[in-house]
């Protein structure tokens, strides 16, 4: 596809979004994972941008970030929450089915992140100003180990 990813385009070009990012949230640099979509022109973006298509692991980028904005992939959501970073999940309403919203929805309800659409990105970003998210607790695989031990000795 030669279409630009709407989220990337919005971040890079939407004046309201950029105003909130730069002036309210004091973001000084953008690092973008753009996937297979082309990179839109960004001469008018007021802060420096570094972008790449894919990386084996975005762990380092997450660790260095002050804010993460992402689509609703569960892997990225969990990685970001486990790194205790503020996270904005952007839902693509056309591509996603109801159950894909479920994880974003329940995580927002528990106070771990905010989610929005590209259309509501700017206004949702404002909520991040001086906002403290709930601390995400990682799941516990030992519970699974104990469960297995129990059922295997039945």
């Amino acid at each position: 596809t030669t279409k630009f990813d709407l989220l990337i385009e919005t971040i890079v070009k939407d004046a309201n979004v950029l105003h909130t990012l730069v002036d309210d949230l004091h973001i000084e640099k953008l690092i973008l994972q753009i996937g297979s979509s082309p990179m839109p022109s960004h001469e008018t973006t007021p802060i420096p941008i570094q972008f790449y298509q894919y990386k084996d692991s975005i762990e380092n980028d997450i660790q260095q970030a002050d804010l993460v904005i992402s689509h609703a992939g569960a892997g990225t959501i969990l990685q970001t929450l486990e790194a205790n970073k503020p996270l904005l999940v952007v839902i693509n309403e056309q591509l996603m089915n109801n159950h894909q919203l479920e994880i974003a929805h329940v995580m927002e309800k528990q106070g771990y992140l905010y989610f929005c659409t590209c259309a509501t990105l700017a206004e949702t970003l404002k909520k991040f100003v001086n906002h403290r998210f709930e601390q995400y607790e990682k799941g516990n695989p030992l519970l699974f180990g104990r469960y297995l031990n129990e059922i295997m000795t039945e």
């Binding site: 569960a74 892997g75 969990l78 894909q100 929805h105 799941g139 516990n140 695989p141 469960y147």
Partner: protein
């Protein structure tokens, strides 16, 4: 020294993308390997000296799962083996032809399950699980193997509804674990023991 009993375990790895039964894209599919990441997190909470040998089954095209498995097992190669199966299903294949390829998968896994005769089968999502479950049940009904314990762990993405695989497995003798408590109200055959990944 008291030798702990070992439990031969079959672990099915896969990504949602190759899911026979996926008609809608899973929230894992954009993140290829989401199921596999969850499975290795689950395994990290188990005793590798008890749950061995670990027999992995991976689709031949699933490089990501093979990579994660090698990473997880880098110090324990003598306790595991891996079997790659051929995936004849294409993404976007029609439902009717999916039935045929599922039947084909079923017949190819029967000798595999018979050979390794696991005591425990761990599955967490991809549609490849279902032929494995049915093959093992069939073999045990025919007294060819002892019936293994089968544990299906639903993805953390599933908050309000079970996956299609999960829904089907409700009707089979499978232990189903969910990771959000509200699911047990809607699906009484499932169990919630806490968030696991």
């Amino acid at each position: 020294m008291n030798q702990k009993k070992t439990i031969s375990t079959l672990i099915v790895l896969g990504s949602g993308k190759y899911d026979h039964f996926s008609t809608s894209s899973s929230c894992q599919s954009g993140h290829l390997g989401g199921h596999t990441t969850e499975m290795f997190r689950l395994l990290s909470g188990t005793d590798p000296n008890v749950y061995k040998p670990r027999h992995y089954m991976i689709a031949s095209t699933d490089k990501m799962s093979a990579k994660k498995m090698n990473e997880f097992e880098r110090n324990t190669l003598e306790d595991m083996d891996v079997t790659f199966i051929n995936r004849s299903r294409h993404v976007g294949q029609s439902y009717i032809s999916s039935v045929f390829t599922t039947l084909w998968a079923f017949f190819t896994v029967i000798p595999f399950v018979y050979r390794i005769r696991p005591k425990l089968i761990l599955i967490n999502g991809p549609g490849t699980c279902i032929p494995i479950v049915i093959a093992s049940l069939l073999l045990s009904i025919l007294f060819l193997i002892r019936r293994p314990k089968i544990v299906f762990v639903e993805s953390i993405c599933r908050v309000q509804s079970l996956s299609l695989t999960g829904k089907i497995l409700q009707y089979l003798p499978v232990n189903i674990l969910v990771q959000w408590p509200q699911l047990t109200e809607r699906y009484p055959k499932t169990q919630y023991i806490g968030r696991l990944v």
